[in-house]
Amino acid sequence: MKAQRDEFLEILLNKAKKDSSIVLLSADMGAPAIDLWKSELPKQYFPVGISEQNAINVAAGLSRGGKKVFIYFMGVWVHRCFEQIRYSCAIGENPITILGNGVGLGYAPAGPAHEPNEDVAVMRTLHSIQIYSASSSKQIGGIVEECLKSNKTNYVRLERKIHKSAELAHDNLPQNSFEDFYYFDSSKKDDETVIISYGQVIRRIFDLKIDYREEFKDISILELSKLWPIDFDKIELKLKDVQNVLMIEEQSKSGSIAEAIALRFLERGISKKFQTVHLPSHYIFQNGNQDELLDEFGYDAMTFLEKIKLLRKVTKI
């Protein structure tokens, strides 16, 4: 099993061998797959050093010059070069694909400088941006294809760690599949409660469906693969008869996808009960690895069940 970054970069490498317009920039980030690019396609690979702002501008120029540009760095650095992404890529209409590695708490316990708990919020403010997320390697090939087809700037959130349970949950998906979202039905036909989530935090929900089979048997999961823009119409249709929505994100609440979905429901006069689980709305100065911190912040069975209980109890608004 490979890390998402290696899966992505290797698939891209094979595409790039047949298409010389595909180029990769790396801003001070290595990976086994980067070594392959270096040795196998040195003319299509550009290390740019620790210079994310220049890297984005160069990428925009390469894009305008006819290249299909991918740039790889730690997810948190989108904050550092946000201006260049907005200005040179979005306003300038020079589409590139940004591969942000180690999103959410992926780099814990490296501290808040390395743990973006607001990257989705920040990036989705950009007009014309497309944001992708994968929870298993099965989706990576499909996202590569989407990015190559796209004429917009893409931000691909790559999870740092490999989690077997996320892979197992996607066992039935075809390799390189891509859907805007996946819907994993509960045993019941007419769903009462749906959990919406994305990225590898979703593995915790799949795990619970095994460990707490009885408690979670009536709960379906809607996994977002394309985070932004969301196809609200399709989601609305899918959730037509659903009463309760629990949204779980490895992000802070402000500017989250949950906010966007809740707003959409409000604007359309759609009445649903809505609960969320989010990272705290502050920078996290706390030791612990990703899983320890997720436990700490309530990404566990008890909290999820509590929220679901609350949903079932509260009167609809």
């Binding site: 390469l62 200005y87 300038g92």
Partner: protein, 300 residues
């Protein structure tokens, strides 16, 4: 074939990156139509070039003062650089092939009278600068024929040009940098990148007018000695009077394949007596009739 397709094909045949077209309310007028009626022609006659510079400054002064928008003084300082690039016959700049990237976006309107004079768009557009019905904006962008970069955020055009130069080694990219723009760290990141990849098809031109919005650069945060800084980054530095068209010719006619930067010592507000070297005029445009009359008289 539709007119739009024809123009597109035409622009491709000229190896242009972008489709050059003019949008009017109902129709698309091909650029070659205007190029037939152009006012400026490339020349090696220095006196003629000086006349062009004066004309360009007058036009800039007119459309800036009539609209009240933009950075007049910053535009006036780089006029001779642009005249030398675009209009001096000795310049190696190939209009159909090479690109000027205004990293210093607030100075980019100074190119409008030149493009109009070359017939890239109708001269009447100058009168419509920043007006709803016009195509010319405060910061040039690629929707304007002959412009290839969205201006307005400093420190970025140089990196963009580096990417273009890497993708298109057969073209030259002239980057106009402001001197106060050099405060942006991204400029120096790009310099390292350009040097690393030996992008000799990027020509850097620093409009060294000495002033940022709040005063003289050396009184705010010193940027000198610029020559040594650029040399340390691997560039051959030429420093000269940015208003001397003869001196400028020596730089722009040189086709050597090496990393080059021109530091052009210029005067902010050049040509308008009361604006010259006055940082207060960075974003203030004269409004009083007496100031406007004086400015026009100075630029005669």
């Amino acid at each position: 074939m539709s007119l739009r397709s024809y123009i597109y094909k035409e622009s491709l045949s000229q190896n242009s990156i972008f489709v050059l077209d003019i949008k009017s309310s109902n129709s698309v007028i091909p650029t070659w139509y205007y190029r037939v009626v152009r006012r400026f022609k490339r020349t090696s006659n220095l006196e003629k070039l000086k006349t062009y510079s004066r004309e360009v400054r007058r036009e800039i002064f007119k459309f800036k003062t009539s609209s009240g928008y933009g950075h007049l003084a910053s535009c006036l300082s780089c006029v001779d650089l642009l005249v030398s690039i675009y209009l001096d016959e000795s310049s190696t700049f190939d209009f159909d092939h090479d690109r000027v990237i205004f990293s210093k976006g607030h100075g980019s309107p100074s190119v409008y009278p030149i493009l109009a004079g070359l017939g890239i768009f109708p001269e009447e557009e100058l009168e419509k600068y920043c007006k709803k019905e016009g195509i010319l904006r405060l910061h040039a962008d690629y929707s304007i024929p002959g412009c290839f970069y969205v201006g307005g955020s400093l420190g970025n055009g140089i990196g963009f040009a580096a990417g273009l130069a890497l993708a298109r080694p057969w073209q030259k990219f002239y980057v106009i940098l402001g001197d106060a723009e050099l405060y942006e760290g991204s400029v120096w990141e790009s310099l390292m990148f350009i040097a690393q990849h030996n992008l000799t098809n990027v020509l850097l031109v620093v409009d060294r007018n000495g002033f940022g919005i709040l005063g003289h650069t050396e009184e705010m945060i010193k940027i000198e000695p610029l020559n040594l800084k650029f040399e340390a980054f691997g560039f051959a530095v030429t420093r000269l009077d940015g208003h001397d068209l003869f001196e400028l010719r020596t730089f722009f006619s040189d086709n050597q394949k090496k990393l080059r930067v021109l530091i052009a010592d210029t005067v902010k507000g050049k040509g308008v007596s009361y604006m010259e070297n006055r940082y207060e005029f960075h974003s203030i445009i004269p409004k009083e009739p007496i100031q406007i009359a004086q400015g026009m008289a100075d630029l005669e």
